[in-house]
């Protein structure tokens, strides 16, 4: 090969850096917070947990703030809502703001006018917005055709399942004072974690034969530079050990530890996917 090669990223698979290095790491957290905020609100609606809904609301706020913290021009954040017709970031930002408004009204109605028809209406609206908050980050990533690992129809589903699993883990910890609720949530969490594991496996399995670039990324996750984070934090700490703990024990301390581990695994999942995203070579080398 020739000596002069000023832009290596043009001749080989090149990891994306903008959304993982430096300030870019905030994107991994924004994707995580979006998923867990939407997931927690949805499961809190199902189990009728006001605390869960409130914490989901806070997390949705954190999602928006994390997104804004990543911007180099945060004071222009309002402009991010101007292109919902084509941009998933725009749609997501609108979902977050609508969710914050609708969920706040819903919680107020649930507190002061519990059991009314208007409460049901706002719960349904809040649920729709929460689903939007949970799924939009998957579409933000999935729309990027330049990075083949991301450009997958499974990613939005994976992010929602991961968000629901994280939401259940958080709700389980929140509801430890109510033993019947926390037991129910722990059972649901076991199922969610198994579904989450299956979804991760399908996603990576499909990536290995979708394109050479997606395969390269999948190999980075399975045996390359991202493997330690993936196997230790996503699979072992975030899925396998919590499942065993949930089956084996039921003390509060164990459930809290399991919940925290699932949440750490959720962050690590987003990190792994962002970190392993590569661009295809632009110029032929063979």
């Amino acid at each position: 090969m020739i000596g002069t090669r000023p832009y290596d990223f043009m001749v080989k698979y090149t990891p994306q850096r903008d959304w993982i290095e430096g300030h870019g790491i905030l994107i991994a957290f924004a994707l995580f917070f979006g998923g867990i905020a939407g997931g927690l609100y949805l499961v809190s609606l199902y189990y009728d947990s006001m605390w869960g809904m409130f914490i989901a609301w806070i997390l949705a706020m954190v999602t928006g703030l994390t997104d804004m913290a990543h911007l180099s021009k945060p004071m222009r954040f309002w402009r991010m809502m101007l292109k919902p017709k084509t941009s998933w970031i725009s749609r997501g930002f609108i979902f977050i703001w609508l969710f914050l408004g609708v969920a706040a009204i819903q919680m107020a109605i649930s507190y002061w006018a519990d059991g009314t028809a208007i409460e049901t209406v706002f719960k349904v609206l809040g649920g729709i917005m929460a689903f939007g908050v949970a799924i939009y980050s998957g579409f933000v990533v999935g729309y990027v055709g330049a990075i083949k690992l991301w450009n997958s129809a499974i990613i939005p589903i994976l992010f929602v399942i991961a968000g629901v699993a994280g939401g259940l883990a958080l709700l389980m910890v929140i509801s430890l004072g109510n033993s019947s609720l926390s037991t129910d949530v722990a059972v649901a969490l076991r199922v969610a974690l198994i579904a989450y594991a299956v979804c991760v496996a399908i996603y990576l399995w499909m990536a290995t034969y979708e394109s050479t670039a997606a395969r390269d990324s999948a190999m980075r996750i399975l045996k390359g530079g991202v493997a330690s984070v993936f196997w230790l934090l996503v699979i072992l700490l975030g899925i396998a050990v919590p499942i065993i703990m949930l089956f084996a024990a039921s003390s509060s301390a164990v459930l809290i530890i399991a919940g925290i581990m699932v949440i750490i695994g959720g962050v690590a999942l987003r990190y792994s996917i962002l970190k392993a995203g590569v661009y295809s070579p632009l110029v032929p080398t063979e």
Partner: protein, 215 residues
Amino acid sequence: MRWGMVIEQKRCIGCNACVLACKAEHFLPPEILWNRVLISETGKYPTVNKVIYNVRCNQCAEPKCVDVCPTGATRQREDGIVIIEEDECVGCRYCMIACPYQARSFYEDGDAEYFPGQGLTEHEKIGKTLYPHEVGVVQKCGFCKERIDEGLAKGLKPGVDREASPACVISCPTKAMHFGDLDDPYSEINRLIKEKKGKPFHPEYDTQASIYYID
């Protein structure tokens, strides 16, 4: 009208004159390049081939960057040129992520000097007043739209008259680059595309790039 470019790969000698012309024309800061010369080798000895691609923003007719931009800062003009309104960009870098050609740059360090620790050169000082770039936003090639607009206002023809043509095109010592209107069936670039079977860079991305490559 849709501005486009044809690049003759066999004529390109990889001298980087176009890269420097672009740098000078737009007073680009250090580390920022709006066009690049990519060189690679294919094959195995003794049948090796040197491949040179002169790349820049492809001014795609179906630009992914325009789709993903949440603010509308990246937009397409009527003549097909994709522009960035720097004062509307929030710096989320989604457009950089989405561009399959990696043609965008982020201007991060406003204090960067071409000769670190030596202060700004006269050229850099002039650039900061004549062609100020906003720090913390994304930039890219705009086909020298200022030259095109001013040239058209003077009745000149981009691609024919030097004053109205992109800096990279007129700087090429081997005349490997041609500029013109893709919508004009009689333009030189359309003739070259037809005669020499021009192909856009990585057509599999389906962006309908406005830059074609011919042998």
